[in-house]
Amino acid sequence: MATHEEILAKLKEAVVEYEEDDCAEAAQEALDAGMDPMVAVMDGLAAGMEKVGVLFDTNEYFVPEVLMCADALYKGLDILRPHIKLDADVPKASVVIGSVQGDVHDIGKNLVKMMFDVAGWDVHDLGRDVPLETFVEKQLDVKSDVLAMSAMMTTTMMGMKKVIAMVKEKNPDCLIMLGGAPVTRDVANLFGADGYAESAGNAVSEGIKMIGRLREYQKGDIK
């Protein structure tokens, strides 16, 4: 029987090589071997995605490869996630995420969503081309910790400013994340957003870096 290290290496490898079947198989193997599923997610799947981030940053991988890696990751995550034990005393963090009305692109949004899925958050995915009021309604309804919005086209970014103002007025503690190709960091600051990812490409880098931080957090490196 494979050791835990070998299973983690297999999970990581399957994500990096975008082998969906291998990833599902390794996830099942982790459960059969009695591994903590959260460890398998963080040190197997998420670690693999971190490697993908490096390959992306060094121009070895591009968006098609990253999308396939994400598909492989989800194959493993779907198997592991139901077995992760929740701490009843700690409320689960939650996020409302979507692409703003006028934006029918969701690659960047889905990659950021993956990061929250990996971390075990409650993810309320509103999809794409989402009317502004729907973001506000949903955020106020579920009182999420984070509101993440993306607009890939220049033409949709102004809408995000309005949503931020509406949410912050009623729920000032909600963290706002903005993403999308035309939204610069300056614009994000101007709109009063708390987090930022520049594009599908940067969403990959930024999202994966956040996964890295979550892994460090879990290990106790970050207090």
């Binding site: 098609p64 490869e65 396939m68 690659i107 599908a200 490409g201």
Partner: protein
């Protein structure tokens, strides 16, 4: 008084003949809110009415003394004509461009109708060209089409397309062949309508998304076919996003000019391609025209484009219509005045 009309200036630019000054025009949308307001029409309406489309284009050019116009303004016309629907956001506040709500989700579903050229708003766009040519004969009239890959991403789900590039190479190649033919047919059609130039916008193919290797095998050859088919009018190869790694391959596709956005290092591009190639670009339109409040900064950005070796200062993408009029004024004025000196590929009288 100018020696040339805007149309003549643009025509001469493409022929690389000496000019009085750099022409001020774009292959990307340049409609501005000030023109739309002047006509009293809501933004959603200018996409569905040939007269409003034509007049908003002409008025935008006249307001800021530009040399050319470009229509249509949105990227959804062809997908809509193929039956993929259209979201116009007529009740939404502010400026939202039309989008395609119902893209094909699998390769198997794709069925490009033969009569798409007469469907949706494509006839309306033809009508707008006719109105512009009649009412503004002094202005250069630009048509634009999406490059085959970007058009493919408008009619089918982009993530399926991107993954297909790796997983279903052969099927995607066949699909891209089909879409290339659509782009070629549209270019042929706009040539017949008598436009002055055609910009082919393959904007979804920069190296933010695709590897240079993929670009070489799947994007470049199809673009070359498109540019080979445009024989009667000058054409521009426009890609926004990262283009430094593919700029030489873009050049090999055979367009009359290249257009890049602010991510391109134009000074380096000049070194790579030499001074004979027409290069257009490359300022960030949203930052420069909508955000900045200091006119000296706007002027410096436009001057840098010229100093870096642009033959025409083009925005890297569509102008966000809600421009500050004073920024627009500074942009066009700087092009007209600072552009009196020769550019690398085009001399001055």
């Amino acid at each position: 008084m100018s020696e040339f009309t805007g149309k003549q200036r643009v025509q001469k630019l493409f022929k690389r003949e000496p000019l009085d000054r750099m022409p001020c025009f774009s292959g990307q949308g340049t409609v501005v809110i000030q023109a739309i307001e002047k006509m009293g029409a809501p933004f959603a309406k200018i996409h569905t009415d040939a007269k409003l489309m034509a007049e908003s284009a002409i008025t935008s050019a006249r307001l800021f003394n530009m040399d050319g116009v470009v229509v249509p303004y949105d990227m959804a016309t062809v997908a809509e004509a193929m039956g993929r629907g259209i979201s116009l956001y007529e009740n939404a506040e502010g400026i939202i461009y039309p989008t395609v709500p119902d893209k094909w989700k699998t390769l198997e579903e794709i069925d490009i109708p033969k009569d798409y050229m007469t469907q949706g708003r494509l006839p309306l766009v033809d009508e707008a060209f006719k109105i512009i040519k009649k009412e503004a004969p002094d202005l250069a009239v630009g048509a634009w089409v999406l490059g085959p890959f970007t058009l493919a991403g408008q009619i089918m789900e982009l993530d399926i397309l991107l993954k297909g590039l790796k997983k279903k190479k052969d099927e995607i190649a066949v699909f891209l062949d089909q879409v290339t033919q659509v782009t070629i047919d549209l270019c042929k059609h706009y040539q017949e309508l008598g436009v002055d130039f055609i910009s082919v916008r393959e904007m979804g193919s920069g190296t933010d998304l695709l590897s240079p290797r993929m670009w070489k095998t799947l994007i470049g050859p199809n673009l070359k076919k498109v540019f080979d088919s445009i024989t009667d009018v000058p054409c521009v190869n426009h890609i926004c996003g990262s283009t430094d790694m593919i700029i030489e391959m873009m050049h090999e596709c055979g367009a009359d000019a290249l257009s890049v956005d602010q991510k391109n290092n134009v000074a380096e591009t000049r070194k790579k391609l030499g001074n004979d190639v027409l290069i257009f670009g490359n300022f960030d339109p949203y930052n420069t025209l909508t955000q900045l409040e200091d006119q000296a900064q706007v002027e410096a950005i436009i001057k840098k484009c010229i100093d870096d070796g642009q033959d025409a200062v083009w925005p890297g993408c569509d102008i966000w219509p809600d421009v500050r009029p004073e920024n627009m004024e500074t942009y066009t004025k700087t092009v007209r005045e600072y552009g009196k000196k020769p550019s690398p590929a085009v001399g001055r009288l």
